[in-house]
């Protein structure tokens, strides 16, 4: 296969995913009838990811606090620990790490589930029962991704702050008032916290789009489903980091 046809394939994939996004958006009004299914998906991709998100959030906050404390101590700036931890979590690490975990935890299961439905003709069966799989299967998962991701990122951030506080204040002996006071004096709601929430909403949409697209278009074989699941993780990770750069450049 020549290089040109490989890039051509990649472009065709991007184009097909874009068209797929439009058909999902078009199916969303119809999917509101399957509101319960959407709730069920929020449960699966959101609530079921809580354990991993909370654990990782806690540890990321703790290690961030430890590392930054030693760095800041070199400049006599440990008072800024809370601020630096909060800013790096809210603006960068929270949305991005949550997105990567979400792609691995929820994205893969979306792809495998839809891919298996494709391989066992369940999607065709729905079409034959005049139930649009885009509205019944794909759109609820897409909506669930868009709703669950920012909530998970908030939980991640909160646990990260608590972890940073535990290490910085309880362990390393930083003053409690300095930690919170310095943080609250320098962190802005809209430009820092809410910006990160926006980012994670976009990441949620991107991951859910890639995961459902890969599942929906998978070749109906076990190898096909396996490849599709791998592609979900790889492409979501790359796209999330690329979009992160672009959004940061424009939202700063």
């Amino acid at each position: 296969m020549s290089r040109r046809s490989l890039t051509g394939d990649a472009l065709a994939q991007v184009g097909a995913a874009g068209l797929f996004l439009f058909s999902i958006l078009a199916a969303i009004p119809k999917s509101l009838r399957h509101f319960r299914e959407t709730l069920r998906q929020i449960w699966f991709v959101g609530a079921m990811s809580l354990v991993i998100i909370m654990t990782c959030g806690l540890f990321v906050g703790m290690v961030l606090s430890l590392q930054l404390y030693y760095t800041l101590a070199k400049f006599g700036g440990t008072a800024a620990l809370g601020t630096v931890v909060a800013l790096s979590l809210f603006r960068e690490l929270g949305p991005v790490v949550t997105a990567l975990l979400f792609a691995g935890r929820a994205g893969t299961s979306m792809t495998a589930e839809i891919g298996l439905m494709r391989a066992t003709d369940q999607l065709s069966a729905m079409e034959m029962m005049a139930v649009d799989p885009l509205a019944y299967v794909v759109a609820p998962r897409f909506i669930a991704g868009v709703i669950a991701m920012p909530l998970l990122a908030c939980v991640f951030n909160a646990l990260g702050i608590l972890g940073a506080h535990a290490v910085g204040v309880s362990w390393l002996g930083l003053d409690n008032g300095t930690f919170w006071g310095n943080m609250s004096a320098n962190v802005e709601v809209w430009s820092d916290l809410v910006n990160g929430v926006w980012k994670s909403t976009v990441f949620g949409a991107v991951i859910a789009l890639i995961a459902t697209f890969q599942g929906y278009t998978t070749p109906p074989t076990s190898e096909g489903v396996a490849y599709a699941t791998t592609r979900t993780v790889v492409s979501s990770s790359i796209v999330v980091l690329a979009i992160d750069f672009v959004m940061t450049a424009f939202l700063m």
């Binding site: 369940q122 069966a125 079409e127 034959m128 029962m129 005049a130 649009d132």
Partner: protein, 284 residues
């Protein structure tokens, strides 16, 4: 149920179009293979029409064309007066609400119990009280002999049982057109008899038009009013099953008699056997 609008029973004849499904000049190329080469076919209203043919001739593909799951390369497919290739996605869904389709591989929803699988079309399209849904579903499950299995999951069923659950699901909304893709595969003789009777009963009592894809001539003979035999991308023969069995054509003799050699090739098209095995000399 609104779908019964599409299905005028045998007591309300429509002289305009006697055929429920009308196919003209169907041409399909799949995977580089010419599957249909100008097929013309009529499925009469209120009758059971069998589509027969060796495996791989495109019987499943034909019913996929009829239900709009797969686009043909050329040809006209009229279902209840609507040309399927020209329908939008929404119109297709409207059309399918009036069609019951039994998949060749059952295609049950693996995350739902048997009961919920059969109830699925009802829940998706009609807002019925739970009690009525329950009654309808259990009646249909009773008809296929699986009322006791209502709470099992599809993974806990045998192939033949799945088949019957899929059958119950396909007929849950009293469709105007029933399509059975190989309904007898994997059934034991008792279940086969039951299913055969069920297909016949649905047809006789509700006047449902049926397309029966099968290759068991013994079963088809007892159920079908009309048989189309597809071979080599064309309609090889058609007529009443009895008459067809008696007609002395090489096609029917081979197919119904089970002889490997005849106009219907048993083998999938392939290179010369000797060449494939690596004996170049033998090719001469």
């Amino acid at each position: 149920m609104n779908t019964s609008n599409h299905s005028p029973g045998s007591d309300s004849p429509e002289p305009a179009s006697a055929a429920y499904v009308q196919i003209r000049g169907l041409r399909t190329v799949l995977g580089g293979k010419l599957l249909f080469d100008g097929v013309d076919l009529d499925i009469p209203r209120g009758k059971i029409t069998a589509i027969m043919g060796p495996s791989g001739t495109g019987k499943t593909t034909l019913v996929r064309h009829i239900t709009g799951q797969l686009a043909a390369d050329a040809g006209q497919i009229l279902v209840d007066g609507r040309n399927v290739p020209e329908l939008s996605r929404r119109q297709l869904f409207e059309l399918r609400e009036g069609i019951g389709y039994l998949f060749q591989n059952s295609a049950l929803l693996t995350d739902f119990s048997v009961f919920e699988n059969v109830a699925f079309p009802l829940r998706q399209h009609l807002r019925l009280p739970e009690e009525i849904v329950r009654n309808i579903v259990l009646t249909r499950l009773q008809a296929v002999g699986l009322r006791g299995a209502a709470q099992l999951m599809p993974a806990e069923l045998s192939g033949g049982m799945m088949r019957r659950v899929a059958l119950a699901r396909a007929m849950i909304r009293d469709p105007g057109l029933m399509i059975y893709d190989e309904p007898f595969v994997g059934l034991d003789p008792i279940a086969l008899n039951q299913v055969l009777k069920l297909i016949r009963t649905l047809n006789d009592t509700l006047g449902i038009t049926s397309i029966l894809v099968a290759h068991e001539f013994a079963a088809v003979r007892r159920a079908a009013d009309l048989v189309y035999l597809i071979a080599g991308g064309k309609i090889a023969a058609h007529g009443h099953p009895q008459e067809l069995a008696e007609r002395d054509s090489p096609w029917t003799r081979q197919f119904f008699g089970g002889e490997a050699d005849g106009p219907v090739p048993f083998e999938y098209p392939a290179r010369d056997y000797a060449l494939d095995l690596g004996f170049p000399a033998a090719a001469a």
